[in-house]
Amino acid sequence: MTIHEAELKALMLASLDGDAASHRALLERLSRRLRAYYKGKLAGIGRDATEAEDLVQEAVLAIHIKRHTYDPAEPLTPWVHAVARYKLIDFLRRTRASISDVPIEEADAIMAHDDNVDAESTYDLKRLMQRLPEKMRCSIEAVKLDGQSIAEAAERCRLSESGVKVSIHRGLKTLAAMIARETPT
């Protein structure tokens, strides 16, 4: 457990400083752990395991959007666990299951297993993106999908550079909210 903790925390600290490769490695490794965690949880309460991938992506998005709330003075595992568990409870509440079905567990449960199946969620990114306001859609497409710099995106979307950054941030939040609303009941 401590090996995971030390490695993942190092990746998290680097990603907070803006290191894209570390961020990618962190999200990849966390998504495998989240997949195993959610599959186990959903199976435990008799739910369809295919819903697990929706939850994995919700949690990955949440970890990305809320990464500034991680306090570097604290270990990473409990933080990830709290986000993952919050998203699980939120998901079950939305889909009308009982929260009392979710047993209390140790934070380490989140790091216990790895599931590497490359799965697909029910969300269609292209379709969700179409529903974003123009500024947000354009900024995310330019910077996040096409890999353009902020300056290039600003020109392409006719926004200021800070406008592009704000649009990306708001756009990802809006996407996360859409995903949360889209979940089949």
Partner: protein, 213 residues
Amino acid sequence: MKTDELVALLSTNLEPADRRSVARTLYVALAAGSIAALGLAFVGLGIRSDLMTTRAFVFLVMKLAFAIAIVGLALVYLTRLARPGGERKTPSFLVAMPFLVIVVLAGISLALAPSSHWDKMIVGNEWLECLISIPIIAIVPFAISICAVRRAAPTNLTRTGAFAGLVAGGVSAMAYALHCTDDSLPFIAIWYVGTIVLCTLAGAALGPRLLRW
């Protein structure tokens, strides 16, 4: 969508994150809420006119110390609760200390006074005004605190809402103290404590609805 695609999207052109933003946002919210509350109390109620007398001054300082102690402690807890998992290391009983102190002091002051004075000490002149003013003045600071907490990621929404309400109630009591002319410890122990607790309960009730993310 494949999870790998999402991870790739989120990692492309990553921006650094501001690690201090949670605490800073809450401090700014507290400052803004205090200004709003003081402004409303000043314009809507006015400052008590007898401030030059020693007795009035002593009681003002006592009320402010009580309110500031609550706000300070509540803000420390709110800053923790705003982060995922923050509720795990947050035994909240310390925040009850200012309440306990004021209740004990009120009890002593009642015990020392003749019972014929008790009515006046407890009910004061303006209990109704206090009962109405503190929750009303708390509305704006509460809204600002909730906005600030929403930018973070609380995972226990009821408790986080309660502490946002407690901060707002404390800020409001601080502002109302500038106007309030009821100078007795039992008055503070009943009406100030009561209204602040009311704000806290309102926050706890609203938290799950306002703070979801």
